[in-house]
Symmetry: C2
Subunit: 435 residues, 2 copies
């Protein structure tokens, strides 16, 4: 077995920022054949409904049934899953769901309005979307935690119906995933996957109801289908590979940090694990821990490849500089593995989730801390947020004018409308001016 | 001149919903040649920076200069615009900006956190994006109101720098647009347009700084470029044609409602104006008002075409049914032109902005009521919101664990991670379990 290989940077290097960008940039090339395949599936499901869904499911998921109704997972199958999992697993799911629910309730916004002196009232209403669709990958990437993280914010938002789709090649379903769906309060489950599942949710078929928002991870066909139906329905961000950046001052046991980096790297070969520290000796100790523990890991080959391709050890001059490095990366997960993480927090501008101190490992956020594990990747934390209740709600502005308020606003609107050459606008306003 | 022509529906018709959907559906087909042109422009600007920007600006906007620096609008040009507009126009811009600022301040969210009994603290921080880009169309669609509506929420959010781009074919700039930029507090303006402007903002060039979010309306090339750079930067919704739906009980002067419908129809031939009322006689009176006033309108031909192609008069059985029709359409602008609009409001589920009663004309919302005029079109109010302060901010989850809290969470995370076959995750958690 080869030695541990990992990239190294030092903020003192000339062109450090260019090198950092080269190591962290991620561009998902969607090739033309994927685009065309997805476009064809979307078009056919939209036009032919259930018939096309059945055809693609038979062809792509080796699951042949006579009607889409047969693809709906019956209550009894979910009951069976609840019995198949261990008590410990059930309790862990319930505990995680409770904590996620508790945290997301804090995100519930209020309607608001204010009244002006002349009686004019302005405000904003917040309402949930009517129906949400949740895509859950099948096979080896079937993650019950992902069901909880995607469904619970929708429930907290007040979404009336959540429809889950999960591919079941050959009819195989994961009991923990079904149990998580029950715990999260999912209303219906169809064993459907791929672009055809996204199409069914976006357009609706005779059997599958059309939804207003589609969330959840998937392969490149699912991601491309979501991108294409965006506008028809809302979607969550299309996620890139998962990342962690650990800022360490040497305070945390190097084995812990090494394992935190591994927990990211084990996802897949594209996952990215970065350590930033002003302490060269500590970096060397974490590296030694990784080299020692790597052979014991069940997913050692994935971890090895991920570290060799995308892992980075970055030596910097100070913790302030480490914060600047972190802001350049805008990581999905940031561990401030420091004696005093609160001191550095104000300097952090962009990160999906920030784990403060040695006790707060990213893995707790993946499952049960409470915050969402669906986070902005590939630097998109510069402008986007963790999945939340706000993703399942939308706002309407509400405008009440008193006669006096309308008079004043109409005079202003008339001047600006005429300045823009829009005279029907101006006349519509002028009707509301009092003589 | 031909007579007024407009579509008619009755909720009692068989297949009413199908007909309504056919009349209101909007699908923007982006043809392959547009996609290819935009892809080429994006690629060249990304690789060649300023040189490509200059070449496209000379070719597409007939504006030849030696360096991109020369495309930055100097302070003196904006000073000149401030002198060129009338006092009345300046005061209207200031009044509108004040009201928009006041309204959007209500949208400022707070950081929040809570502490659990064992000392674990969970929360969310809200921070602005670092830099925003604002696209402003040139030529006849140069709307100063659009500058205010896009820039002010960013300023209120705390965005440090706003970069505006506006095409100036042949160097021509609109004084009202420049004055609005000054009033809104825009930091830099470049006379750049089209996909090349979007590319410069998304990737940055030697001269134009890269931004984190791009907002603002544009033609099909601009819309396609925004769609393509999404993920690299955040974007606002890609807007379809503007729409209004008026629910009327006969209480408002039919001339007022007719002009409100015209104010939507005058935007362009694809704009959509819909009247829904249970009162057939009132619908006839609004129609008579439209027929009488149409010949007087400066943009009569656009209005005539818009009404003939996309206008609809819908007779329904009751106001409750009118609310259901409105929810099916999920209109960008909804006027509840009713004696008691508050009574119907709870039944409205989807609308960008809701104008309550006869005094609240949509036009006031377009300019100076306070709420944003950038609103979800084409039924996207089912899942999306008016442009707001929230579009220029992003959130980070913050997780602090006490030793006792970490112990509990780690036990739960370990069970779920092992259930998912992710053993580095499990071991990372298990380090945090106390012996």
């Amino acid at each position: 077995m080869s030695e541990l290989s990992i990239n190294r940077l030092n903020t003192a290097d000339p062109d450090f920022e260019v090198a950092l960008r080269r190591h962290t940039e991620w561009e998902e090339g969607v090739d033309t054949s994927v685009r065309q395949t997805v476009a064809e599936i979307l078009k056919r499901v939209r036009q032919e409904g259930d018939a096309a869904v059945l055809e693609y499911t038979a062809k792509l998921d080796s699951l042949s049934v006579a009607s889409v109704n047969e693809l709906e997972v019956p209550r009894e199958r979910i009951d069976a899953a609840m019995h198949a999992i261990t008590d410990e697993q059930f309790q862990a799911l319930e505990a995680a769901a409770d904590r996620i629910r508790r945290y997301h309730r804090e995100q519930l916004p209020q309607d608001w309005s204010y009244e002006e002196a002349d009686g004019t009232r302005l405000g904003q209403r917040v309402l949930p979307v009517d129906r949400a669709g949740l895509y859950v990958p099948g096979g080896k990437a079937a993650y019950p935690s992902s069901v909880l993280m995607n469904a619970i914010p929708a429930k907290v938002a007040g979404v009336e119906e959540i429809v889950m789709v999960v591919p079941a090649p050959g009819g195989e379903l994961n009991d923990l995933v079904l149990a998580a769906a029950r715990v999260a309060g999912i209303d219906r489950i169809y064993t459907l996957g791929g672009a055809q599942a996204v199409a069914a949710l976006a357009y609706g078929t005779e059997t599958v109801p059309a939804v207003d928002k589609i969330v959840g991870p998937g392969n490149i066909y699912v991601a491309e289908a979501k991108r294409e139906v965006f506008g028809r329905v809302g979607i969550d961000m299309v996620a890139g590979p998962s990342e962690i950046l650990v800022v360490a001052d040497g305070h945390t046991d190097p084995d812990w940090v090494a394992m935190d980096l591994f927990s990211q790297a084990e996802h897949d070969e594209q996952a990215q694990a970065i350590l930033v520290s002003p302490d060269a000796d500590y970096i060397a100790r974490v590296e030694a821990s990784m080299a020692r523990m790597l052979p014991e890991m069940e997913r050692a080959e994935i971890i090895r490849q991920s570290l060799a391709d995308r892992g980075i050890l970055i030596q910097c001059a100070s913790l302030e500089e480490a914060a600047r490095v972190s802001n350049l990366v805008a990581p999905e997960h940031l561990e401030l593995s420091l004696a005093d993480p609160d001191a550095l927090l104000p300097q952090i501008r962009h990160a999906g989730a920030i784990f403060m101190g040695s006790w707060a490992a990213e893995v707790m956020g993946d499952y049960c801390a409470g915050p969402n594990h669906v986070l902005p990747t590939s630097g998109t934390a510069r402008f986007s947020s963790p999945l939340g209740v706000y993703d399942f709600q939308k706002r309407s502005s509400v405008v009440h004018f008193s006669a006096a308020g309308a008079d004043r606003a109409a005079r202003c609107a008339s001047v600006l409308a005429r300045g823009e050459g829009l005279t029907a606008h101006a006349r519509s306003a002028e009707y509301r001016i009092r003589d």
